[in-house]
Homo-oligomer: 267 residues x 4
Amino acid sequence: MNNKTKQKLYEIIYEADTKAGKAFDIVLLILILLSVLVVIVESVSSIRTDFSIELKILEWVITLLFTLEYFVRIWIIRKPIKYIVSFYGIVDLLAIIPTFLALFIAGTQSLIIIRAIRLLRVFRILKITRYTKEGKILLQALIASRVKISVFLFSVLTIILIIGTVMYMVEGEPNGFDNIPKSIYWAVVTLTTVGYGDITPQTPLGQLISGFVMVLGYAIIAVPTGIVSVEISNEVRRAKRERVCPKCQFADHDEDANFCKKCGNEI
Amino acid sequence: MNNKTKQKLYEIIYEADTKAGKAFDIVLLILILLSVLVVIVESVSSIRTDFSIELKILEWVITLLFTLEYFVRIWIIRKPIKYIVSFYGIVDLLAIIPTFLALFIAGTQSLIIIRAIRLLRVFRILKITRYTKEGKILLQALIASRVKISVFLFSVLTIILIIGTVMYMVEGEPNGFDNIPKSIYWAVVTLTTVGYGDITPQTPLGQLISGFVMVLGYAIIAVPTGIVSVEISNEVRRAKRERVCPKCQFADHDEDANFCKKCGNEI
Amino acid sequence: MNNKTKQKLYEIIYEADTKAGKAFDIVLLILILLSVLVVIVESVSSIRTDFSIELKILEWVITLLFTLEYFVRIWIIRKPIKYIVSFYGIVDLLAIIPTFLALFIAGTQSLIIIRAIRLLRVFRILKITRYTKEGKILLQALIASRVKISVFLFSVLTIILIIGTVMYMVEGEPNGFDNIPKSIYWAVVTLTTVGYGDITPQTPLGQLISGFVMVLGYAIIAVPTGIVSVEISNEVRRAKRERVCPKCQFADHDEDANFCKKCGNEI
Amino acid sequence: MNNKTKQKLYEIIYEADTKAGKAFDIVLLILILLSVLVVIVESVSSIRTDFSIELKILEWVITLLFTLEYFVRIWIIRKPIKYIVSFYGIVDLLAIIPTFLALFIAGTQSLIIIRAIRLLRVFRILKITRYTKEGKILLQALIASRVKISVFLFSVLTIILIIGTVMYMVEGEPNGFDNIPKSIYWAVVTLTTVGYGDITPQTPLGQLISGFVMVLGYAIIAVPTGIVSVEISNEVRRAKRERVCPKCQFADHDEDANFCKKCGNEI
């Protein structure tokens, strides 16, 4: 094959502007979701025994297609090494090797988790769609708030540790608070308002302390929300500010606007 | 009946400006709520056996009134086909057919869900009340944030899938994590802080991972809240901006203001 | 007693500016909390039998003091009828009558709830403290968002009704979803992320639907938070705006500022 | 040792600007986390019996290092009394005495909680890191919203008390609502959406009331979130305002900016 075919394939596989490129992305997306679905349904024992052969065939078809895609990707890109060691390159590789490894290793069970990594391939599709801009704003907001969130999480973990220790002292072994790690597990379950109910305070004092822990958990959830709200607000404003009309400098455009609503100039 | 009667009926049924129109809306609202109530209480076996005849009569009275209303609506409107195929037209039809179908089909049980659709009729009333403006702001905010929310939900679903698979590996069948779908169900229950407690981690490692999942769930709830807060804030500002005083251009009016508080001009 | 004594008593009981007035408020607050505590501990059977006489004495002492206060309030105020029929007047009356009624009626048990109304008396104290301003901002924000919150709650209730009916169809009687009301109870428990676990879906389809309900509940909690955030933000800004410097019109003062930070003028 | 050594030690222990100071902080951080870990794992009975001697040795090594550090801190500081009675001085002392006390007192178990106080030492490290600024913003926001949060929490506690009493009347002793304190515990568990499920309403009326409590809890969580969001937003703006360019007065700088983006002047 000559360079032109290579160029064409590059456009189809790595870009999404052409019709063929978009079709490729959709087919790939379906294949990825299908491959994840195979992993999921195979874990259900009744399905595993009833559709053993069908699942195995599907597994191999998908794996071979992924393998083909992987090598084509390496072949047509200018810097193959850079792709291979990139995040997506490694994910693409991890998506195919478990099936081959299963030929040599008996317990495929232990490869299930690596096969689940295939799901990460879905991000490949999203990377090149219109969702990126919005996702970028969210990501930027989370990155901007990472230090505040860390401080918050560290404080929460300290509180959880102290509560866990106190409750271990108050309730003790007979009531399910066997040791501090288990007590901490209870504290996490309670403070995050999950509340399984597998371990619950039995003594009046323990129930009183639990009450305060719950109200505390209910109140401090406000903190990360406040942090992220402010940062998303900042990011949205920043994203808007980048869309300033070059003619009249008006900046408060709607997200879907293509022309300045003040002077009609194209933005 | 002549055209004048038709016009009068149109005003009563389709509009809410006249006294009769408002009375009609209230009667309709009560009938709708009553019809939903009949469906609900009929599902309670003790009530179903004790008040069998009363419920049947009530059911038929409401259905016949709805049927009458449905045909009157078709009759008085200028474009009947447009109404019949509209959302409300279909809902109005679905509100009456189950009772008639029950005459021919034995198991009325299976029609219960269609009968519950009647509740959607309530929106008909709301459509023409003052709640619409506020509802519109909320709806606009949700629409404006739909892409960000989608990106968020997709990320959450990916996280849930990975957590579910990991926990299936860690806990396994003896502890209730029978297969990946069930494990994913547990992950949803935990990450959303619902925490039924029907499936709980038993191993120390499982409890450790659960703890991280809970804290994660506790933290990422901040993201949709932040998104919606920002969008509601934008929508409220936009709604206010539409109420600019035509004389002095002042824009920050209270929601219940009828006159500009700066120059006294009517807004 | 002459008018001067009456005036003095009025200042002590109805106002909080004088030293005696503040002391009265604190004594009253302690009495109110004590009276509520008596109601609470009396419900614990072991305490009720062991401290029967002590509780009865305490109950009567508090009631007689409240009775005395009630009649003094009526005596010293200019418009007694207005006080008697006011919210606080009724609460003050309800705080004393259960104890007297218990003399004539055997089952004091049924009066416990009316005795709990005493707690509402606590608001009397708060009414005249510095907390009022902040409470007012919160209340104003909630009032300003009442229509939006109503629309939201109505939508949530509709969703809950539909989910409840669907789950009754899917799970049915053998799995605890006995009837639609119980199914709706489950839907509320799940959508609000409370998650008792007393009723849980058993079928795979039920668990799948539950998963969507949970994610939905997780996402829509963002809506009221967004609404209230925006309104609190508006109220805080409005409260600040009322503190404009009369000399230089500067408005962005800190909450504890007494002088304009731009021109030094008293605000 | 002369004054120069003392000065050097002061820089290492109390400051973090030098290389040695940073190294000291990291070693101290590891020691603190290790000491907390010892307390935690010692509570697990299987580990306590298997690694009894190892844990005891580790415990004593850490305690002696902490003791050494404590006395060096006293020795090198100019005002030792001020350090000893300071928050960190007391925490440092509490971190070492339990181990020594265990020599004389039989049940070390009861000292576990004091030993857990060691964790508070971690804040010493954080005090001098770059996290302080962000933590300060969060703390300032929480301080600024303390009155609003108090008003909110007081209202919530009143609601909880009333709900608890009502449910005690409705459900009563046979259904687990033994007395008002336990009923209040249930109300806290439900309103905060924790939902253990150890006590659940059994009567239809109780389930109906619970439903309203849950929706209420779901809605009012919006209030603290709104409060904190607004305050964080204010604090972030205030923190930014302090970074005004001295040359051109431009104020909206990015957090990591060192130069004014308008005029290039150093901020």
